[in-house]
């Protein structure tokens, strides 16, 4: 069900629907294990990931990617209602998420050699950290205000 705010018809911004909420939830649920394994091993100095940690990281990544895609498809038309800060974080988050996904999947293809692979590895790491920060900031920007 979609609700709208009491604005003129031309400025009506739909409220968050079920798909949007589901998408954000899926993104968060996917990102939690991905961040815990990826950023966790980095912070603990246990890089590179291996064994179960790596499998958990890779295994949770499709949920994250699907969630982020749902967010990308359902949120933009509604995001404007949360203010410019939130809007700013949202698009940065989306951009960082795209980089995370691409830098995660491109190494699985024979497109890049060792240097490119290493660059992607570092890009994946730091875009992942950036994404985590942006998610937190975005969530913070969505908090109820007086």
């Amino acid at each position: 069900m979609t609700t709208t705010t009491s604005l003129p018809e031309s400025r009506a911004i739909p409220a968050l629907g079920a798909w949007a909420r589901l998408g954000y939830l899926l993104m968060l649920l996917g990102f939690l294990p991905v961040a815990a394994t990826g950023i966790g091993t980095f912070l603990l100095g246990q890089v590179p990931m291996s064994h179960w940690i790596l499998m958990a990281h890779v295994g949770a990544s499709p949920a994250f990617a699907l969630g982020l895609t749902l967010v990308a498809l359902t949120w933009p038309s509604r995001e404007a209602r949360y203010g410019s800060i939130s809007w700013f974080f949202f698009w940065l988050m989306l951009l960082a998420g795209l980089v995370v996904i691409l830098s995660g999947v491109l190494p699985m293809t024979p497109l890049l050699g060792t240097e490119g692979q290493h660059l992607l590895y570092l890009t994946h790491r730091y875009s992942g950290i950036a994404f985590a920060v942006l998610v937190l900031l975005h969530l913070f920007s969505l908090r109820p205000r007086r």
């Binding site: 705010t5 009491s6 064994h51 949360y82 951009l95 890049l112 060792t114 590895y121 908090r143 109820p144």
Partner: protein
């Protein structure tokens, strides 16, 4: 270490020890040996040119005297034979090349004190088909090998057994006082002479070095004569061998003085009695292959073996495996520099050169600079490993050395470089579901004529076994399971040498029927349980130092309650050493054929391939494991990881699809933003919390 040649000084000794002085012979001999002439450290001479120097040089005997064959006819016109003492490499080559430094080289220093053992390498394997013994030996103390003295094998016996492929020096030139001791084996060297480093084994340019002649010389214990005979400078001037002289010698009687001379080939000497040696500092690969051939395509390799890509490209072994005058040859593994301490002599020598170039330097500064320069040189060792040439050293320099192409490794995540050596994917045979038998020069006497060797020719060595190396990386290895009779005491097994076993076991050891010898020249028939039990029974009587046992194919056999029992035992564990060659082309590398599935599949050889222990017992009774088990990997993890690769294509589709959609949204919003029609947040819109 003293490296001077053995000096028998027979005539002097013979005069001194007549009559009652005979009992003082060993002492006097010892004094003569200690104070006798030694090979002095030469100042290394060089031409500093890339053009090889033509070595037209005098031969020198073990006293340092020039060898001058008598004229073809004496004053009365009577023919004279060109007889003389065998030539000494220490005296001849050592005249211009620092023999003491050379003798510190990797090929000669195994028994020297304080030499780092380095990465485990190929052992010498004492092989005796009759007793089914295959015992890995090494003076370096590599775990899983035995030091020859620890199993009752003297240095002398070691030489007789292995000098066919041992280049001399080291244990071949023991300190002189050891030759004069009561060690009945070592003192034979007073007759046989020392086994000096034979420079021509490696440095002969055209391969006209007769390894077979050297092998026969060593078997005859003609140590001192071996370099001359093998270089085809002459032949024996008498038929009696040093072994015969040594066998007949009964100390304290003086050692024989009528040892066979060399009958030199007169045409090898010019008018000034100089001999031309066609030698090169850059040893030919064929020379290396005499000792370092590995052959797994048994029977007829010509259809299967392509050799190493580097050799095919025109390189030679010593392009990478380099050394200086100290002969500390680069072995080429990662982390090798830590195993190459800089010797004080090397610092002193370098400091001497620095002082010569800059007399203003103080000696202290010269030593300091010398050490610094040598450290820089040591850094170059790193650039001669696989990664060093192809990727460059850690400072990013030296990549492309020797024209090495920069590997692309498309699609290979960098984590692989942290868990795999280069050789894991590129060296040895293409991994299969089972290991394969490999023959090596050192173990199977390759390079010497013999009946065609087969799958079961002892010792049984297999490749490639993927184990972790000292750096924790997976690397291909060769592997041999020790097989020997021994005495078990407090979980430690002490091997018994073959002759001890043969003597004690008598007819309990199966003898090969004469009719079978032609069909099976290597006596490869495995022992049956009954035969093992009988031999163990024969070894038991009178033995108080422990329980007789037999080890083979990863198991320890013992008799308990009259029955033969077998169990896995630490002493029966295999010994493994990393293999580096032959290097395959990139298109035949692991990962270059089926991509990720070469390793990440539930039938991947490097994880799930079978490694069956080989030995002189029923093949079914040996220990069989797979590579991951030998490495101590977690089977569940490995299997699960391989299983996840079945979903890898789906993962790629999902994530790429998601990326395309997100990219589309971002581009769409970007276009809207650029067109200036975006909805502006916060203007007249009620902000809502996410609920």
């Amino acid at each position: 270490m003293s490296v001077g040649p053995f000096l028998p000084a027979p005539t002097l000794c013979a005069r001194l020890v007549e009559g009652s002085l005979q009992t003082l012979f060993p002492l006097l001999l010892g004094l003569v040996l200690v104070w006798g002439p030694q090979a002095p450290a030469a100042e290394n001479l060089g031409t500093e040119s890339r053009m090889p120097y033509r070595h037209v040089i005098p031969l020198r005997d073990h006293n340092g005297d020039m060898i001058t064959p008598p004229a073809a006819f004496d004053e009365q016109g009577k023919p004279q034979e060109p007889r003389g003492s065998p030539y000494s490499t220490a005296r001849t080559c050592g005249k211009c090349h620092d023999y003491p430094s050379i003798s510190q080289g990797w090929h000669f220093n195994a028994a020297n004190e304080g030499v780092p053992a380095g990465r485990p390498g190929e052992p010498w394997i004492l092989t005796d088909p009759a007793t089914r013994t295959q015992l890995p030996l090494s003076y370096r103390g590599w775990e899983g090998t035995f030091r020859p003295p620890d199993v009752g094998m003297s240095d002398y016996d070691f030489l007789v057994a292995f000098a066919r492929h041992y280049p001399g020096g080291g244990v071949g030139e023991p300190p002189k006082e050891r030759m004069g001791t009561n060690d009945v084996r070592m003192r034979r060297m007073q007759i046989t002479g020392a086994l000096e480093i034979d420079c021509l084994i490696c440095h002969n340019r055209h391969g006209d070095y007769d390894h077979e002649a050297r092998y026969k010389a060593v078997l005859s214990e003609n140590f001192k004569w071996a370099p001359t005979i093998a270089s085809e400078l002459g032949v024996y001037g008498a038929s009696r061998t040093a072994k015969a002289f040594a066998d007949a010698w009964r100390p304290p009687r003086p050692a024989a003085t009528n040892l066979p001379p060399i009958k030199y080939e007169r045409h090898r000497f010019d008018s000034g009695n100089h001999v031309t040696f066609d030698v090169t500092s850059k040893a030919a690969s064929e020379s290396c292959y005499y000792c370092h051939t590995s052959e797994s395509h048994l029977g007829d390799s010509r259809w299967h073996a392509d050799g190493d890509v580097h050799i095919r490209a025109g390189m030679s072994c010593v392009d990478c495996h380099r050394n200086g005058i100290d002969h500390q040859i680069v072995r080429g593994y990662e982390g090798e520099t830590k195993d190459r301490p800089i010797r004080a002599e090397a610092i002193t020598l370098r400091a001497k050169l620095l002082l010569r170039d800059d007399p203003a330097l103080t000696e202290t500064d010269a030593l300091r600079f010398a050490e610094s320069r040598l450290m820089e040189d040591l850094g170059k060792v790193e650039t001669l490993s696989c990664a060093g040439c192809h990727y460059g050293s850690t400072d990013g320099q030296s990549a492309g050395r020797l024209g090495a192409p920069l590997p692309h490794h498309a699609g290979l995540p960098p984590i692989h470089f942290e868990i795999l050596t280069c050789t894991a994917c590129h060296s040895g045979p293409v991994p299969g579901n089972a290991t394969e038998i490999v023959h090596t020069s050192l173990a199977h006497k390759l390079g010497l004529p013999a009946p065609i060797r087969g799958e079961n020719t002892a010792p049984a060595i297999v490749q490639s076994v993927f184990l972790r190396d000292g750096n924790g990386k997976i690397a291909p290895h060769k592997m041999v399971w020790p097989s020997y009779w021994g005495v078990l005491s407090n979980t430690v097994v002490t091997p018994l040498l073959p002759d001890v076993v043969a003597k004690a076991a008598g007819d309990k050891l199966p003898t090969q029927a004469n009719a079978d010898v032609e069909r099976d020249p290597y006596n490869t028939r495995p022992l049956t349980d009954a035969q093992i039990r009988d031999v163990l029974g024969a070894l038991a009587p009178g033995r108080t130092n422990g329980e007789p046992v037999f080890l083979a194919a990863g198991k320890l056999y013992r008799v308990s309650g009259g029955e033969l029992q077998s169990e896995e035992h630490a002493a029966a564990r295999p010994y493994a050493w990393a293999l580096g060659h032959d290097v395959r082309p990139a298109s035949q590398s692991v990962g270059g054929v089926k991509g990720c599935a070469d390793c990440h599949a539930d039938d991947s050889p490097i994880y799930f391939g079978t490694v069956a222990a080989r030995g002189p017992v029923d093949p079914k009774s040996g220990v069989t494991k797979d590579h991951l088990e030998l490495r101590g990997d977690d089977r569940t993890v490995v299997s699960t990881f391989a299983f996840t690769f079945k979903f890898r294509p789906m993962l790629k589709v999902i994530t790429f699809g998601c990326a395309v959609l997100i990219l589309g949204v971002l581009l769409g919003r970007g276009l809207v933003f650029l067109s200036g029609t975006r909805s502006t947040p916060g203007r007249g819109i009620k902000q809502e919390p996410l609920s």
